[in-house]
Structure formats: structure tokens, C-alpha cells
Amino acid sequence: MIRKPTLIATAVRIFELSLGQMLWSRRSVFLALVAAVPVALAGLIRFAAFAEPRALPQINGERLDGAVLFGLMIWLLYVRFIVPVLGMFYGTSLIADEVDDKTITYLFVRPIPRGAVLVGKYLAYFVCTALLILPSVVLVYFLLVPIGSSIGRSFPSLVVDLGVLAAGIASYGGLFAWVGARLKRPLVIGLVFVFGWEPGVLLFPGYLKRATIAYYLQGLVPHTMPQESGVNILLQVFQEIPAVPLSLAALAGITLAGVWLAARAAETREYVLDQ
């Protein structure tokens, strides 16, 4: 008698299949470009700093050094743009791509838990995105931080930033995996969430910002940004910063809940293929 494969074994098998597909797809060309832009920008800044040190901006008389620039790029580029956008594009398409390609039938006729398909694809998304984004962060770090700062002294912030970005990739992916598995027009909803809801709600005091992922990510980011006067001016935009344990718990909860809900949606929903 053939035993039905377990959820984990199935998820791992789907992960192996999906990783290669995801990595070498056209969507990943976009991902690679997105990961390369900060590296190119960091290279330009480094070249400018080498050619003309006074080209670096000043805030309140203090010229920004490499560590501050790195922190700004992490927050403004990676945390507020790259990670949410990639989570949205990849997360919403985990099941949608299979539906569009009409290959979902082949997956679902197999004697495997349907939820495992989604879990495996989510894992492939996480690994694919992390392996492209995190090395680019390391390259940006070594390009920027030596400008007027010390690689050794700033190393703890690099480690924390890598962790923050991994947490962001996981949580945005989990959320949008559920959006893609459950809702129609997931991309539109994703765009509204990333570019409308989160930036808007974060600027106003109140409880609404707790319904965003960026709120909890920012609870982790200040520990990575040096307490310089120039950076504090920018951080004043965020008037309420959650505690680190709360942020970690919330992000873990969003990730697990998103993936679980997405798996449940894959189990229960009937996917109608366009003829």
C-alpha cells in the first residue's frame, strides 16, 4: 500500500521543484535588477565619496558617514520598498501562476496535501528572495560603511539588518501568499496595501498602524541605525516604535498565520481554470 506523503516531505519536494522554476523565471530577472540597484547606487556613492568627500550630504553640520548611509538605504530602499514589493509580486503569484499556466490541476490530482503545495512554494519564494536580497545587502555594506566609518564597529548592525530583512521577506510573503490564495485581484490589493495603506497609516498616530507589517519591522530597525543627529531627524517621522519582543512576536505571528491561512485556502478553494 502506498502511503500518502507527509506534509513536510511534500513541501520539501515542491520546494525543490519550485526553487529552480522561480529562480530562472522572467520574474526573477526583475528581482535581480531590483537587488542590483542598491549595489549600483552604493558603488556610485563610494566613487563620489572617493572623488570628492564633500559630496556627501550633511545634516545639521554633521556629514553623513557610511554607517548612516547604509542605515538609510536599509530603511528607505530595502525595508520600505524592495522587500514589500518582492513579497507582493512573488507571494500573490504562488498559486496564481500555477492557475494561469493551467498546471495546478497536475499538482492537485497528486495524492499530496494541497496545503503542502503552497507551503513548498512559499519556502521556495523565501529562499529565492533571501538568496538574492541578503547578499546584495552585504555588498552594499562593504561599499558604504568604510566611508568614514568602521566595518568592525558597524558589524552588529549588519547582522541585525540581515535578520530584519529576512523577517520582512517572510512576513510579507506569508501575508501575500494568503492574499493570492484567497482573494481575487491579489496584485491590486497588494499594491494598495504596500503603496497606500502602509505609508499612509504609519504617518498618523493611533492604533491603525498596528495593522501593517512595516510598523513591526521599524521596531527592529532603530537598533540597527546609529543614534546620530542626522538619522534622528528622519526617525522623528515615526513617533511610536514598538518594543523588540512585540515586533518579533507580531512578525512571526503574521508569517505563520499568513502561510497557514494560505494553505487552508489552497485546501478548500476551488480553482476554476479559464478555458
Binding site: R54, G61, E62, L134
Partner: protein, 324 residues
């Protein structure tokens, strides 16, 4: 997972792993990177207890447009420069590339009475010619750790000159020159002084700079008490300048407390305002004043200024302007 995917995963993990490992080693061991601003190599010869350290890229300054303008206006060498060349055989304009100078406190550790100085010059020196010139002037010769040292005959402070290595000469008190030779062979240097090195690393890439304790400078200047009592309570200072066609300057001072810094900034603003009142009939002065920026926060007072070549022409007396 096919081979292409496997290679990609391995490459990404390698970049990530190597980056984190290098950062980890730098954090715990303090591996110096080629990119960090550590100052010139000559700092290795400066004692760790130096209270003021200065640097000048003599070659860059001498090759600058500004220096060319001054040289055209003043073709004769200044007396001090000529006397130095006569005594040592070293022509500052052509032979010297970089100079590092340091003020070292007295043996009793009092900072306010610096005792001796050390000057380290890098360049192209005819060692044989210079040594024979010093012998002709009556310098006494001794050998220390394989290097020949020449002590000036009539110098009460024990002024000595030694070639630490080809192209690297140390001038200063005998004790400091010997200690520079010791440092060349591996003893601890100013690079272990976090206070000074933090200031050095904070500097922009100027071709002339000086950092150190402000009270050491005032003590060296031997100012009268009624003047020193009026000076602001500045502890550390860092001055840098980039000399090319014009002059870009940065002066940064650390005061004892925030109140002193605020008062000092107010004083500087007042001086600038008063100068602005006087600048009506002097457009060149107005240009200079407009370039002055006062910044800084907390206990830091920072002043930056820019003097383009055209402004320097306007400021200089007629005899200094080229072609006139």
C-alpha cells in the same frame, strides 16, 4: 534541484557567508581594512601619548594652483625655508612629499606644557649628501638600532635627525627620534590612541590637517593668562583643509559641555555679523563671509569655509596677484 540552481545557491551563500565572516573578524579582532580612513602610514612612528598630530601633503600643496600663485608673487624663498635647506640639505618644495608632526607632552604627563615635537618627512632625500652636510655643520653622530642619528651641536633640547628608512626622515628631540625608530621596529604608536584616531578618521580627505588637544596648543603658544582666560573651554580640535586652486577648510571643536558650545557658536555668529557690517565696501570680504558655515550640535562646534581662487586674488595685496 538542477546544477544551475545548486551553483546559484552556493554562490549566494558564499557571498553571504564570506561577508558575515569578514565583518565578524573585523568586529572581534579589528582587522584594518584598506578602505578605512586610518591616516598616513607615518602615524606609525608617532608616540601614542602625542597630544597634537598634524599632517600635510607637501607635494600636493606645492603643486597646487594656489601655491603657484603665491610663488609667482613671491619668487624668493622665505628665510626659514632657506635656512632649513642650508642646515639639512632638504628642499621642502621638491624633496618632501608628506610631513607628519606631533607634539608630545612632558614626562610628568602634564598636557598643558608640551615639551617636545617630532617631525616625520617622507620624500626623496639624498641621504649621503644630507649626512655629510650635517657633519660639516658639526653635528655629532651616533648609531641607534642600525640607523645613523645626527644631533645638532648647539641645540639645548637635543635636536636630532635620523633616516628611519630610505626616504623617511625623523627630526625632533633625540628621545622622540629614537622612539620613532623603535616604532618603526614594531612598538605601539598613536594608532592605539582612540581619542586621536577617532578625530583622524572623522576628517574629510584634506591635504592638510591637524587634530589634538586644544590646551596643548595654547600652552605651546605661551599666551598670557589674560588671553587664555578668555578662550572658550575647547577640549579637542580637528582642522582640515584642502588646498588646490582655492582653499576649503573645516574646523571642528569639542567643548567641555553643551552650554559652552552654544555660547561659542553665539560668539562666532556675532563675529560673522560684525564682519558683515564692515563688508559693505569690500566685496571680497563679503564673498569670504558668505562662504562661512557654522554648524555642529551638542558639544561640537563646526565651521567650514571656502575660498575660491578668485576670492584669494581679490583678498591678496596687488603685489601678490600674478602678472601684475
Amino acid at each position: 534541484m538542477n546544477r544551475k540552481t545548486r551553483y546559484f545557491v552556493i554562490a549566494s551563500l558564499l557571498v553571504l557567508g564570506i561577508g558575515v565572516a569578514v565583518g565578524f573578524v573585523a568586529y572581534y579582532v579589528g582587522v584594518p581594512t584598506a578602505f578605512a580612513q586610518q591616516g598616513p602610514d607615518e602615524l606609525q612612528l608617532v608616540p601614542g601619548n602625542a597630544v597634537v598630530v598634524a599632517y600635510a601633503s607637501v607635494h600636493e600643496v606645492m603643486a597646487s594652483n594656489l601655491r603657484e600663485r603665491v610663488r609667482q608673487a613671491l619668487p624668493e624663498l622665505p628665510n626659514g625655508q632657506r635656512e632649513f635647506e642650508d642646515a639639512t640639505g632638504i628642499n621642502i618644495e621638491h624633496d618632501v612629499d608628506r610631513v607628519v608632526a606631533a607634539l608630545v607632552p612632558a614626562d610628568d604627563g602634564r598636557v598643558d606644557v608640551p615639551r617636545s615635537g617630532l617631525l616625520i618627512a617622507t620624500g626623496r632625500f639624498d641621504q649621503v649628501k644630507i649626512e655629510s652636510l650635517m657633519r660639516e655643520h658639526g653635528a655629532t653622530e651616533e648609531t641607534y638600532r642600525g640607523r645613523r642619528m645626527f644631533a645638532a651641536p648647539d641645540s639645548g633640547a637635543g635636536l636630532s635627525v635620523a633616516f628611519v628608512e630610505p626616504g623617511l626622515v625623523a627630526v625632533g628631540s633625540t628621545t622622540l627620534v629614537k622612539s620613532a625608530i623603535d616604532r618603526k621596529d614594531g612598538a605601539a604608536s598613536i594608532r592605539t590612541n582612540d581619542d586621536i584616531m577617532t578625530l583622524v578618521r572623522s576628517l574629510d580627505r584634506g591635504n592638510v590637517w591637524a587634530v589634538g588637544r586644544f590646551d596643548a596648543l595654547t600652552a605651546q603658544a605661551k599666551l598670557p593668562p589674560n588671553v587664555t582666560n578668555q578662550l572658550p573651554p575647547v577640549t579637542w580640535f580637528a582642522v582640515s583643509a584642502h588646498i588646490n586652486g582655492g582653499l576649503l577648510g573645516d574646523i571642528r571643536m569639542q567643548t567641555r559641555d553643551e552650554t559652552s558650545a552654544n555660547q561659542f557658536r553665539d560668539v562666532i555668529r556675532g563675529i560673522i555679523a560684525m564682519a558683515n557690517m564692515q563688508a559693505d565696501g569690500h566685496p571680497e570680504l563679503a564673498t569670504v563671509l558668505r562662504s562661512i558655515q557654522l554648524n555642529g550640535s551638542g558639544t561640537t562646534v563646526a565651521v567650514s569655509f571656502e575660498l575660491p581662487a578668485e576670492t584669494i586674488d581679490l583678498l591678496a595685496p596687488r603685489r601678490l596677484q600674478p602678472g601684475r
